[in-house]
């Protein structure tokens, strides 16, 4: 169960704080290939499983992963939605205005023909 963030900005702050760490980004990349256990996620790093668990907790709190119990192992699952939101608001500003103004050019041409 992902905790409900208290607000949109808090949620974004959590996402970026979580993404600021290279190990956590590497874990997300690994999870793109599919759900994985703590042991599987710890394997590529020279890191203990408790250390990896700490990173997973941060990712879970940011809503970037969810975790479920399967038999004796705990599986981590990548959640893409918060990333999409973060991408949307960080990266799309230039695209927003570039694309809008390109369409405004076309609209103005139409309006000129009408008048």
């Amino acid at each position: 169960m992902v905790p409900k963030p208290s607000g949109y900005e808090d949620a974004l702050t959590g996402v970026f704080a979580a993404l600021a760490d290279p190990t956590r980004r590497a874990i997300l990349v690994q999870l793109k290939a599919g759900d994985a256990t703590v042991a599987e996620l710890a394997a590529p790093f020279s890191m203990s499983q408790p250390a990896v668990s700490k990173h997973l907790k941060v990712l879970e709190q940011a809503g970037l992963i969810s975790r479920s119990q399967r038999a004796t192992a705990r599986l981590s699952h990548l959640e893409a939605a918060p990333l999409r939101t973060a991408v949307g608001w960080l990266m799309d500003y230039r695209a927003y205005w570039t694309e809008s103004f390109d369409r405004l050019d076309d609209l103005l041409d139409d309006l000129k023909e009408d008048s």
Binding site: L19, A86, D92, Y96, W97, T98, E99, F101, D109, L111
Partner: protein
């Protein structure tokens, strides 16, 4: 389009020229059925919920993505909007209290109109939430790995 986002200053200035008189630009900014034809990123559909271009008049519009999720913005016009200048406040529905102020001017010469959009935020952090200036030269700038990751994931999330 020229986008100026100086580090440490909670402001963005966008400058763009159009081969059209400012009267037409003013129409494109203030008539709901025209606004919806150009405003917003490709792939998002704009619904103009309200647009009342007069002093104290309210505006509200919503961008819908392909999953049907809406991103609504709203605010007020301050001063009578004219083909020379429009002053309006902006607030994203999901970030109430984080208001930004927009001054849009239209400057026409020889049939070419220069549009300048000057946006002021409370804080640099607020600006960086909206502007890719943060992506280009801020904390996130060096994170090529993050860039690649989120781009790939965003593509996957948008089949």
């Amino acid at each position: 389009v020229k986008i100026i986002a100086e580090p440490g200053v909670p402001q963005v200035v966008i400058v763009r020229t159009f081969k059209a008189p400012k009267a037409l630009l003013f129409r494109a900014y203030t008539e709901p059925d025209l606004v919806k034809r150009w405003l917003g990123p490709a792939g998002l559909e704009l619904v103009v919920n309200q647009l009342d271009p007069r002093h104290g008049g309210r505006w509200r519009w919503t961008h819908y993505d392909s999953d049907g999720k809406g991103y609504a913005f709203h605010g007020l016009y301050h001063g009578e909007p004219t083909p020379d200048r429009i002053v309006q406040t902006y607030e994203f529905d999901e970030a109430p209290g984080t208001v930004y102020l927009n001054l849009i001017t239209f400057d026409e010469a020889d049939g070419v109109t220069t549009l300048t959009q000057n946006t002021v935020f409370f804080a640099v952090e607020d600006r960086d939430l909206y502007v890719d200036g943060g992506m280009e030269r801020g904390v996130v700038a060096s994170m090529q790995q993050l860039d690649d990751l989120v781009t790939a994931l965003a593509k996957e999330a948008h089949p």
